[in-house]
């Protein structure tokens, strides 16, 4: 990876920062294999712009994430499935 801004996981993106979805990894079997699919159905599709609006307390969880015109609250492990190209 020689990218200037390497890919990061969505859960590590700072509050207020923007990025573009690059990849959604399938969750482990315990969460149901279609976790990634559901995330995509909610709009977390490669190419979509996202922004971290808020984080819950304590522990920075859940995260309120704006994708397109909608806002979704995700737990940390869900957000960790989404790879982001930060802006």
């Amino acid at each position: 990876m020689t990218h200037a801004a390497p890919l990061i996981k969505l859960d590590t993106l700072a509050t207020g920062s923007r990025g573009t979805v690059v990849h959604v990894a399938p969750g482990d079997a315990a969460h149901g294999a279609d976790l990634a699919r559901r995330l995509m159905e909610l709009g977390f599709v490669p190419g979509e712009k996202i922004r971290v609006l808020k984080r819950g307390m304590p522990g920075g969880e859940p995260l309120a994430i704006k994708v397109g015109n909608s806002t979704f609250a995700l737990r940390r492990f869900e957000a960790a499935l989404i790879s982001i190209q930060p802006e």
Binding site: R38, L42, K49, K54, G56, P58
Partner: protein
Amino acid sequence: MGASDKPVAAAAQMTAHTPLVALLGNPNCGKTALFNRLTGARQKVANYAGVTIERKEGSFTSPGGHPFRLLDLPGAYSLSAHTPDEAITRDVVAGLRQGETPPDVVVCVVDATNLRLNLRLVLEIKRLGLPMVLALNMVDVAKKRGIVIDAERLSQELGMTVVETVAVQGGGEKTLLRALDDMWPMQHVQANPLSAIDAVPVEDTQREVRRILAAVSNDSHDKGNLSEKIDDVVLHPVLGPIILAVLMFLVFQAVFAWAQPPMDAIKNGVDGLGEMLKANMADGLLRSLLVEGIMGGAGSVLVFLPQILILFFFILILEDCGYLPRAAFLLDRLMGGVGLSGRAFIPLLSSFACAVPGIMAARTIQNPRDRLVTIMIAPLMTCSARLPIYALIIAAFIPEREVAGFMSLQGLVLFALYVAGIVSAMAVAYFFKRTLGANTQQPLMLELPSYHWPHLRNLALGLWERCKIFMSRVGTIILTLMVLLWALSSFPGAPEGATHPAIYYSVAGMLGRALEVIFAPIGFNWQISIALVPGLAAREVAVGALGTVYALSQTGEELASSLTPIIAHSWALPTALSLLAWYVFAPQCMSTLSVVRRETNSLRYPLLMAGYMFALAYVASFLTYRIALYFVGA
């Protein structure tokens, strides 16, 4: 029904039946508001067969004079169902659900301010090949935000009629009605198999959405808006929880303060009617059945209607304006610690008024395991039916004195009882989390929709619905149980020359006396044991039953005030404390258990609930009694 006779059935339907319109859309797209707008109060709310997912059907006649049936399908993000709600939507729309007529037309409702999310579902459904109309809802809000959508172009791109609707405004549904009229007469079309939907990967669907959006709309995404500014405050790490706490305090205050006058009115009305019957009827079985069984029994439950309505008034407003998901967001981490979802907050809050609406509100929790745990702990929240008992015992045994200069000891004890309920609920939830398996984290994926002004018409319809559900339950299950308990408490009658009150000789009395053997170790005398039997129907009935046992003839306020010195005189303090502990846990409410049975569709969970709560109650009372004995002496 075999597969072979389906075409025949379909042909018959085509000629004879009223066309069925299915309303389908993402959650939060204003679908239910549109449903209310189209059908008014002409709606039937029931459950889908075999599950506890609400099924709302209504009917209307179009301006062209055509009758229609309208089905409001549960909100869905996709037809590849992830929740039981979505599975229903998928099966009904694809004509796969037994006992449901396949829809003739699908009206896809989309939020015009959020086509990027909503159009994906539209493209999915389109692949089923059913006749479709797209209702571009909330166009008023979209226009205000400067979003321009070329409806004609959208119609060309999608290959279906597109109409603009404003569900929250009178007449906002007219365009949709006209479009449905234009489709008359309808030919029933068999839906394509569901595999047609999966033929296209999600990424490709989204690419198509982006292409259409670019062609029909100026919608550049991710501009900050008013909702975000509100969220800056409402979801603020410090301000957010404070606002939540203040709101909850106000709701509580309202539930208990505002409800008092109508509750008194209902109580006086029922009591008055009872008195009237008593005065005008000869003493006998029928009078006893009417006055004590029916009026006394059902009346004691009916009295909670004002509280339930006020509580739902607030819940519906908070839900309508979009606050509830924010509350779930704020509490998610906290409740996640004991394995609950933030969504469990509303059912648990409702349960402070009454566990029955609380358990019904658990329907909003999509994960079946989370929902079950929430239902199981809901009755541990101190419901208002416990208050009469608490009030009686506290008044009799806890001295009225100040603690630390400003707090009343009686108030502190009451507060401690509430806290005991909450803490034990959390402990039980944690226990269930460990035992019901599922150590894995559950996904949250909770949409935080834009804020909206609550809408009065929807509010009124929502309250009317709650009222109907509650009344029909009072009228059926609860009344039956009350009459049954009355019979147990009345038969057989007292023998000649009886020295004890009549209930002593009844089946309930025999049961109570037999139970004394079990209850003696936790300090209950036979009077309490007997009172607990009719008290199984509803907690507060035990106060009346104690009155009966101690042979008092007063009712209501008078009874409580004359009962107080009697029990203060005849019970030891450890017994009183033990009874308080008992009431924190004991599942003394038939209505709750019958609702659990209905909501879980099984006998297993109400039995499990009764079992674990009785066990907790016994252990807690035993410990309380023994510890109190040690300190106070017998």
